[in-house]
């Protein structure tokens, strides 16, 4: 099924073909997990949300407009599932997931203490507001256009642009600190 495009697979899945939908899951799982991770900041929660998103897409395939790209439609469902889960977790924990101290928000690199680049980037992402995290992840990491992100998040394109700009600035600050540390060794 590797040569079949998403729209054709989605059409078959809408007729109840679980194999076709399974292929869509395999194609888009890595991205769905990363995007959910960007929202939830926790890999296990991200997998729960991504799974919920896929199952929701499976049961709502009838609402998919085949004249539009499948991937943004799916990713919007995943983002919504991740945001819902984040809200539920917040209610249950009675405190925000953003537990990063205000000091770290001013200077993400200060809080990031270890040398693992991935860990440092995740910590830096955690200091950003959720919308900025999503905007920079969807734009730079996943290759969505500003217009697609705007539709997905329900915000104007100008806001997406601003969020990407500010998100990148914070992340580049962290990367700059890491580079300085590596150069000093």
């Amino acid at each position: 099924m590797t040569g079949v495009d998403d729209a054709a697979l989605a059409a078959r899945a809408a007729q109840g073909d679980a194999e076709a939908f399974g292929e869509l899951v395999a194609r888009h799982a890595p991205m769905a997990r990363r995007v959910a991770h960007a929202v939830l900041e926790n890999a296990e929660d991200a997998d729960d949300a991504a799974q919920e998103g896929f199952l929701s897409a499976w049961t709502n395939l009838g609402r998919y407009d085949a004249s539009r790209a499948f991937r943004p439609w799916l990713m919007q469902i995943v983002v919504n599932a991740a945001r819902d889960l984040r809200r539920r977790r917040r209610v249950r924990a009675t405190e925000p997931l953003d537990t990063v101290p205000a000091q770290a928000r001013d200077d993400p690199a200060r809080e990031a203490g270890n040398t693992d680049l991935g860990e440092r980037l995740r910590e830096a992402l955690a200091t950003l507001p959720e919308r900025q995290r999503l905007a920079v992840t969807l734009f730079d990491a996943e290759g969505y256009s500003q217009a697609e992100i705007a539709r997905m998040l329900g915000i104007p394109e100008g806001t997406v642009k601003s969020d990407v700009f500010h998100g990148r600035r914070a992340l580049r600050t962290v990367l700059g600190h890491v580079k300085e540390e590596w150069d000093a060794r």
Binding site: H37, L61, A141, G143
Partner: protein
Amino acid sequence: MHGDNLQRDEALGAMLREALGDGRDAFFVTRVQARVRAAGAPGWDAVLARWFWQGLLAAAASLAIAGWSVLRHDATPVAGGESVAVQLLDGTRPGSDVLMMAMTEAP
């Protein structure tokens, strides 16, 4: 800030993908595919849900048309719609003589 359109930062994007992924996609995919098979094909409720708004609009339109035609019918006077009493009392219709007799002979 920037020009009209942002340029993608490929290096940052690659690092973000690395940071947010954990290489355990295959396990996740197997898990979700199993859940999809267990859930089965979307049922009739999903199919009906797809047509919900169209159905609602069609029902509303039908009701509006039916209501309009009923109101229009009620508002139109029936041509020659005289009451039976008037028709009998004009003296030219069959049975009017009987009616007149009954009325005049009543105590």
